[in-house]
Structure formats: structure tokens, C-alpha cells
């Protein structure tokens, strides 16, 4: 094959197989459009109605939703984890820990009298919630996929 691969291409080729790469390219493209659409909607809302969230919450929403979309779709398609990764346990445990830690921080702030909406916009308290979202969504998707694909293991009866 002609040497037209960039270093980045070579890196991805080593870590993901051809089906995973195609899935990741497709999902990345969808994620890019989702990001653009969310930024556009956010911008239009601010132009016509004013702010809809605290500054840091707004940033986290615009980062969190596309990240969650990519993670969930990629895990579901079996294209998230590298082929070189023999065990996903450490990744899943650490993602669960980070997700739950941020979710707990959000819940504690609400228990301590924080609110989700302040002065008609999403409050800063939601920052932690949207930080937890991609991690927990990834872990839940992985768990559901794992349970569902048990039937698809090699010893499966012919469907």
C-alpha cells in the first residue's frame, strides 16, 4: 500500500480494527454535526431570549452531550475500546468512580439547598451532573451491551 498514512492514521490502525475505524469515523461525523447544532441552538437562544444557563454549565452541557453521544454509540457498536486492551475492568471501574463522584457532588449540592434553576436559567449546580453524564452513560451502555451480547458469544445457538 502506498505510504499515504499520517501518523494519526497509523496510530488508529494499530489500536482499532477496520470495522471499528469505520464505525468511529461515522460516529465522529455524527458527533460533529450534533456539536454544531447544539452550539447553533445555544447561540440562537442567547440572541433571542438571553442566557439559558450559567456560563460554566453552558460550556459543560455543550461538551457533555456530544461526548455522551459518541461514547454511547461507540460502546454500543463495539468501537470504543482498543483491540490491544485485554481487559476493560480498570477503565470501567475508574469511569464508574469518576461518574459517581461527580453525581454525588451534584446531589450533595442539591441537598444543601442548591437549585437546578436559578433566576430562570440552569444553575452552576448542574455542572457536576453534566460532568458525570458521559462517564455514567458509557458504563451503563457497556453493562447493557455486555448482558445482551452474552447470547451472541461463540457458543451461541444459531439465530
Amino acid at each position: 500500500m502506498a505510504e499515504t498514512k499520517s501518523k494519526l492514521d497509523s496510530y488508529y490502525s494499530k489500536h482499532y480494527d477496520e470495522r471499528q475505524l469505520i464505525s468511529r469515523y461515522r460516529i465522529s461525523f455524527e458527533t460533529m454535526w450534533l456539536t454544531l447544532i447544539l452550539i447553533f441552538i445555544s447561540g440562537m437562544f442567547k440572541v433571542f431570549y438571553g442566557p439559558w444557563a450559567a456560563d460554566n454549565t453552558e460550556m459543560m452541557v455543550l461538551l457533555s452531550l456530544p461526548t455522551t453521544y459518541f461514547a454511547v454509540r461507540a460502546v454500543w457498536k463495539g468501537a470504543y475500546f482498543s483491540i490491544q486492551q485485554k481487559s476493560y475492568t480498570w477503565t470501567i471501574v475508574s469511569f464508574t468512580f469518576v461518574g459517581l463522584l461527580n453525581l454525588a457532588a451534584f446531589i450533595i449540592s442539591i441537598i444543601n439547598g442548591g437549585t437546578v434553576i436559578e433566576n430562570g436559567i440552569l444553575s452552576e449546580n448542574l455542572f457536576q451532573f453534566f460532568l458525570a453524564l458521559p462517564f455514567l452513560a458509557l458504563v451503563i451502555t457497556y453493562a447493557v451491551k455486555k448482558i445482551m451480547s452474552k447470547n451472541e458469544e461463540d457458543e451461541e445457538p444459531d439465530e
Binding site: 480494527d17 477496520e18 471499528q20 463495539g78 483491540i83 458469544e153 461463540d154
Partner: protein, 65 residues
């Protein structure tokens, strides 16, 4: 796409699991499963790798009448 039962049969004849074959050709088990289920159309390079591991020709595994 139709299921590729020829790969499954050749794999079974060699007493290999999907995971074994996937590792031998450098892909994930999900990819191997997708090929057998007819959900993914592999590249020629991957077809050749599968044929080499299973000791079959491209015709024997991938030719559809």
C-alpha cells in the same frame, strides 16, 4: 447481506472460537461475529488473513453462488 456460514463451519472444523480466530487475524470478536452474521463486509486484506488462518481459499469462504 447473508450470513457467512462457511467461515463458521471452517472455524468449527479447526476447533476455534470466534475469539481465537479474531485474535489470530487481529480484530475484535465483535468484528468476527459481524462478518459471520453478514453485518459487515470485510476488506480483501482481512479476507485473506481469515483464509490463511483457516487454511481455505477466498473462493471457499467468500464466494457466493
Amino acid at each position: 447481506m447473508t450470513k457467512n456460514l462457511k467461515i463458521k463451519a471452517a472455524r468449527a472444523a479447526k476447533d476455534m472460537t470466534q475469539k481465537d480466530l479474531a485474535e489470530a487475524v487481529g480484530v475484535t470478536r465483535q468484528t468476527m461475529n459481524a462478518i459471520e452474521m453478514g453485518d459487515y463486509n470485510p476488506t480483501l486484506n482481512l479476507c485473506i488473513s481469515i483464509c490463511k488462518v483457516l487454511g481455505k481459499t477466498l473462493d471457499e469462504l467468500f464466494w457466493e453462488e
